[in-house]
């Protein structure tokens, strides 16, 4: 129990560092960086402790789900509370977030402090609050608390993306990120209200006391309603006039709106590339561990709710598969280092959504984990290059940095191999599992779900090739060949605070895939699929029985309720190997094509060969254009019409009331003539009126 007792400190420590940096940052060395480093370091240590506790190595209990603070106490109604939920999923996410936040804080010493940036207290305060918000989101045990912290995450991204607010780009990018994600969050909020109104609770997992359930969770209630038909307590169904399954699908899709916004899925992905205007360590934090990860984590957190709705699953899978391919193609033609990485982030989160939608819960969490590591690595590597290049981000101005910054090169290469999905780097294992799950469920599922999964799978598969290609295009242009500018010939050196985090992440990017080598486990029969076991829990009892958030439970739901089942035409091992070989071959092909096009000493642009396609890709499929048109061409006229209505009708009524009041008031004033005999008359008349009226009513006369 001990670790769970101290667990709130995981969230509070970065919050304290936010306060410290904000109020005392000016007076501290390094502008408050040390407070942030200490806080996130301690949070990391506590997260490790919590994880060990969840794993059963220390402490007596392997899960925790309690309310800790009631901020609105409902009488015969819903109470709004803060509470903590620790299970393997949240423990793993805590580790990821605290580790990345810790490394990003250290890296910031090199990126911000050493570069002589001003406004450092503001920067570190932002980082602290960002980390605290994300951690609060991760440990939330109910949907409303999750929403609150979700919004805080959005606010912090606004503050940090717009850190350089004196330039033109960052404030505009910050606003865009805020507004676009807010558009999604609008649906999320309706979903939250809908879920709480429907079930009377927003709990992700039931709270038990001594083996008795004292508070039900909404996924559990939804499951009872759909599986056992226990709908009599859900009055909302009658209100909306829908069946349980349909209404829960609607609710799930509403929440998904927030997910699509935050996790930058099509069509709300447009904010993310612009968010590159923020400082690079912030990009690393946003992309790897905090904001963008929040969306996918939310789906995983309430997976039991989605698992009973095949429609929602299909939507998630399709959005994911489409986004994976769509974003990857846009990454093909970008010239700036961070832009390539931005589109790759969108694409990789597409994979996670694809996995979640197609019943690959472990695969999604696995890819979330590996992606956090290698994407943080790539961003920090890019940050290192940007320092070296004096903040020039154009890859065509680089070249040949391999020999001048070896640490950055080798760690970046490790991250790139992971992103491209080359065995044995982390990305291979997780991406392979995502695709494998999509494939077998596509082949095996009945009804419309199977073809949908196969379509999503195909898009995911094609983007393996595209991903490998643009990744290595980036590597070759940046590090190989001859230096193409003077700065690239003589880059700025980077310090230990840059190399340190890079090295840690570089090693992890190469090795973290080993936590779940599912293909190897299946072929050899060795039990080395640790993540699978971690999320599955013990077969009998333990936290899965208490919390209902175990993999086994989800798989049952997926199979029995949603009708997701596996099909293996080539036999279990045959299908597995075919899938793995196919994706690996495509990845290697992508790398080889990139090498042949850009691997020379003096590479040239090939994008012109794409013809009209290039224009479309460079303009990102005109996504921004049509969204701007939606805002100015559609929303604005509607808003103007509303304004007319407001000004004319609503205000007209209000003004009418007030002018009636004022003229009435003037009449009242006129009663006060100033002549005392008038007063006596009116007073007496009033009294007589009362007497006559009540006398008639009372029957006195």
């Amino acid at each position: 129990m001990a670790a769970f007792t101290y667990a709130p400190a995981i969230v509070l420590l970065p919050f304290v560092s936010f306060l410290v940096a904000l109020f005392l940052g000016d007076r501290m060395p390094k502008g408050g960086a040390l407070a942030g480093i200490a806080a996130t370091g301690l949070s990391l240590a506590l997260s490790i402790w919590v994880t060990l506790d969840v794993a059963g190595f220390v402490g007596s209990s392997t899960s925790y789900n309690e309310f800790i603070y009631t901020w609105v106490a409902g009488v015969d109604a819903v109470s709004l509370r803060f509470g903590l939920l620790f299970d393997p999923l949240s423990a793993l996410m805590l580790l990821i977030v605290t580790l990345i936040a810790f490394l990003v804080h250290i890296f910031s010493l090199g990126y911000m402090n050493d570069e002589g940036e001003t406004g450092l207290p503001r920067y570190y305060a932002g980082l602290g609050l960002f980390t605290a918000s994300m951690l609060g989101f991760v440990v939330a045990n109910n949907l409303l608390m999750a929403f609150i912290f979700f919004e805080l995450v959005g606010l912090c991204s606004f503050l940090l993306i717009g850190f350089w607010f004196r330039e033109d780009g960052p404030p505009s990018a910050a606003k865009k990120a805020f507004l676009v994600t807010r558009f999604g969050d609008y649906f999320f909020l309706i979903g939250v209200v809908g879920i709480i109104a429907t079930f009377g609770t927003g709990l992700f997992a039931p709270i038990t006391e001594g083996g008795e359930v004292v508070a039900h969770s909404f996924p559990g209630l939804a499951e009872d309603a759909v599986v056992d038909g226990a709908t009599e307590n859900i009055a909302m169904l009658e209100t909306v006039g829908m069946g349980a399954k349909q209404w829960f699908t609607v609710l799930g899709l509403l929440v998904l709106g927030g997910v699509i916004g935050k996790s930058a899925q099509f069509p709300l992905h447009t904010w993310l590339p612009d968010a590159m205007e923020g400082p690079t360590p912030v990009s690393a934090l946003i992309h790897a561990a905090t904001m963008v990860a929040a969306g996918v984590y939310l789906v995983a957190r309430m997976y039991g709710f989605y698992a009973i709705s095949p429609t929602a699953l299909a939507v998630i899978a399709l959005v994911g598969g489409f986004t994976a391919l769509f974003a990857a193609t846009m990454g093909l033609v970008k010239q700036e280092l961070k832009q390539v990485l931005a589109y790759s982030t969108i694409s990789q989160y597409g994979y996670m959504m694809l996995a979640l939608g197609s019943g690959g819960y472990v695969a999604a969490v696995f890819h979330l984990t590996t992606h956090a590591v290698f994407k943080a690595l790539l961003f920090l590597g890019a940050g290192s290059v940007i320092i070296a290049m004096h903040h020039n981000e154009n890859m065509w101005d680089m070249g040949g940095l391999k020999d001048r910054m070896p640490v950055t090169y080798y760690t970046f290469l490790s991250g790139s191999l992971a992103l491209a999905g080359i065995v044995p780097f982390a990305g291979f294992w997780s991406k392979d599992e995502v695709l494998y799950e999509a494939l077998i469920h596509g082949l095996g599922s009945k009804g419309g779900l199977g073809p949908v999964y196969l379509l999503a799978y195909t898009m995911g598969l094609v983007s393996v090739f595209v991903t490998a290609f643009y990744t290595f295009r980036m590597v070759y242009l940046t590090f190989h060949g001859k230096p193409r500018t003077d700065i690239a010939r003589d880059p700025h050196g980077v310090g230990w605070n840059v190399k340190g985090p890079l090295s840690v992440l570089g090693v992890l990017a190469a090795t973290i895939g080993l936590i779940n080598m599912a293909p190897v486990a299946k072929v050899t029969g060795l039990h080395i699929d640790f993540l699978h076991k971690w999320l599955n829990g013990p077969e009998e009892g333990g936290w899965p029985a208490t919390l209902d958030t175990g993999l086994h439970h989800y798989e049952e739901l997926l199979h029995d309720v949603a009708g997701v089942s596996a099909g293996e035409p080539l036999g279990a091992i045959g299908t597995l190997l075919a899938s793995a070989v196919l994706s690996l071959a495509l990845a290697i092909a992508g790398v080889l094509v990139a090498r042949s096009l850009y691997g020379g000493a003096e590479p040239v642009e090939h994008t012109d060969k794409l013809g009209g396609v290039k224009t479309i890709l460079m303009h990102n499929y005109y996504q921004d254009e049509y969204q701007v048109w939606l805002a100015t061409g559609l929303t604005h006229p509607v808003a103007r019409a509303m304004d007319k209505f407001d000004q004319g009708v609503v205000d007209g009524v209000v003004n009418g009331v007030s002018s009636v009041s004022l003229s009435g008031g003037r009449r009242m004033r006129r009663i006060q003539s100033g002549v005392v005999s008038n007063y006596a008359t009116l007073l007496t008349l009033g009294l007589v009126l009362l007497l006559v009226a009540f006398g008639l009513a009372g029957g006195w006369f």
Partner: protein, 518 residues
């Protein structure tokens, strides 16, 4: 039990004694203008009264011995009863009087006849305290006149100011008419029931036969004649009329705008807060004790809560609508004070024919009077400060005052917003309780009137706030001194107005218990 029993009237006695001391001081040295000494005596007397009232209130006077109290103090054969209700209102009276006398030290410093000024204030306060404890129509009338007569003189205190003198005379004339109506009403009730003591009147109404009081105990009259309900009803309505004069409620509100505007501002504060409260305490006690609604309803006399509903709605609308179109701040406050009488009348109007909801609505009215005693007094004292500085009377004259006197203007902002019912002072909660009282008995028309008028009142109150803080000063204005007494009184009133937010639960508990014990 307080021993001897008459000591329970200590809050009233303290006022009376202080008034006599002032008169004594005046006869020793008739020409003194030593404002500090004279004002000091008055403030001290008020504070002693306040201390006595609070001490007795928390000492449990009026709470039955079985519930940990010492029981009500019954004096003069039941003519006066000091209980929780009486002490609650004595506390309001003493608080307002303390604030007003403190503020007057600066206000009347340059005037002659200061001793008379203070002693009139204190004598009127004595009347209010006694009125709180009056348990018979006779004592009520005497105390009522003791409140009124000094106040006529006080309104006309600025003898060289035509407005003041004219207002005093008008107030007196309207007051005379009202007193006549009140006295006639009393006589009709006496004619119908044969008794004047509240509990005896109630017995007569409940039994339906006339009563008499022999040696302090109520007995049936030998004739056994029944109570003529039409005469009783007429008497009750005329008593309501007399009380409406004190409350400044429709249709007896005509005196109020002119008296409040013409009177010295501290006196306006005194009349609009304490005197109004005195009218209400008599109404609460008389209608809760002497005219039990469950016995009267449908008896052919009068369903008095319906009368109060009519008066409450009319008073709210007339007060607030007229306030919205005023050009001078003091007159606006005068009308708003009429409007507030309408709000408090809800305390007598929001109940059902069986008397359900009376404890809640009356205690809401009492709580509103308590909060009002501070916020309205404070607002008028701010006017006193403005008059002291020679700031003009119109809204525009207050432009930019916030820059020159930020503390006083901040306090005024608290008063005005609290009067409007914003949660910056206790006024929010008391209005909210009144609103809830209307909802409890489904009195939709009262609820609607309360909401509409509160919204309207925000408009005219915020005009002052806007002038003080947002507008630029129009003309030259120099503030030479910051009078200590006025400032202390204003700031104290503001602090208490704000403190009544956390303390509001306490106030309503006391008020609710006081009504329950009647």
């Amino acid at each position: 039990m307080v021993d001897p029993t008459w000591l329970a009237t200590a809050p009233a006695l303290a006022f009376g004694a202080a008034a006599l001391v002032l008169l004594l001081a005046d006869s020793v040295d008739p020409d003194t203008t030593n404002a500090t000494v004279l004002g000091g005596i008055a403030v001290a007397g008020s504070l002693v009264s306040l201390a006595a009232a609070v001490y007795l209130l928390y000492g449990g006077v009026g709470i039955p011995t079985g519930q940990g109290g010492t029981g009500p103090a019954v004096i003069l054969g039941g003519q006066l009863v000091v209980d929780q209700m009486a002490l609650f209102f004595m506390t309001i009276t003493a608080s307002v009087t303390a604030l007003v006398t403190l503020a007057s030290v600066d206000y009347v410093r340059e005037h002659a006849y200061q001793a008379e000024f203070y002693s009139l204030v204190l004598l009127s306060a004595t009347g209010m305290s006694l009125l709180s404890a009056a348990n018979s129509l006779a004592t009520a009338f005497v105390a009522f006149e003791l409140v009124s007569l000094p106040s006529y003189a006080l309104v006309a205190f600025l003898k060289k100011n035509r407005g003041s003198v004219e207002a005093g005379l008008k107030y007196f004339l309207v007051g005379a008419v009202s007193s006549a109506v009140f006295a006639y009403g009393i006589s009709l009730v006496y004619a119908a029931t044969g008794v004047l003591r509240f509990d005896a009147v109630a017995m007569a109404i409940e039994s339906g036969t006339v009563r008499t009081v022999v040696d302090g105990s109520v007995q049936a009259q030998a004739s056994g004649a029944s109570v003529p309900m039409s005469i009783l009803g007429m008497g009750i309505i005329m008593i309501i009329g007399g009380l409406a004069f004190k409350m400044a409620a429709v249709p007896f509100q005509f005196w109020a705008p002119e008296a409040y505007e013409g009177a010295p501002a501290p006196i306006s504060a005194f009349l609009s807060s304490a005197s109004k409260a005195a009218g209400f305490v008599l109404a609460f006690r008389a209608f809760a004790v002497a005219f039990p609604i469950d016995a009267l309803a449908g008896s052919g006399a009068v369903d008095w809560f319906v009368v109060f509903q009519v008066l409450a709605i009319a008073t709210m609308f007339i007060g607030n609508f007229a306030a919205a179109t005023q050009e001078t701040v003091k007159r606006m406050l005068a009308y708003s004070s009429i409007g507030h009488a309408g709000y408090v009348l809800i305390g007598l109007a929001a109940l059902s024919a069986t008397g359900d909801g009376m404890a809640f609505s009356m205690s809401a009215g009492m709580a509103h009077l308590m909060v009002y005693g501070f916020m309205n007094t404070g607002a008028f004292l701010f006017i006193a400060l403005a008059e002291y500085w020679g700031v003009g009377r119109r809204f525009e004259d207050y432009n930019g005052l916030g820059k020159q006197a930020p503390v006083a203007c901040a306090a005024m902002t608290v008063f005005l917003f609290s009067l409007a019912g914003l949660p910056i002072g206790g006024g929010f909660f008391s209005k909210f309780y009144l609103f809830q009282a209307t909802l409890n008995v489904s009195a939709w028309s009262l609820a609607a009137a309360l909401v509409i008028n509160s919204a309207l009142s925000l408009f005219y109150y915020s005009r002052v706030v806007k002038a003080m803080w947002i507008e630029e000063p129009t003309g030259e204005r120099t503030i030479e001194s910051y009078p200590t007494g006025l400032y202390t009184a204003i700031v104290a009133a503001a602090v208490i107005t704000v403190l009544l937010i956390p303390g509001f639960g306490y106030i309503t508990d006391v008020a609710f218990r006081a009504v329950e014990l009647l």
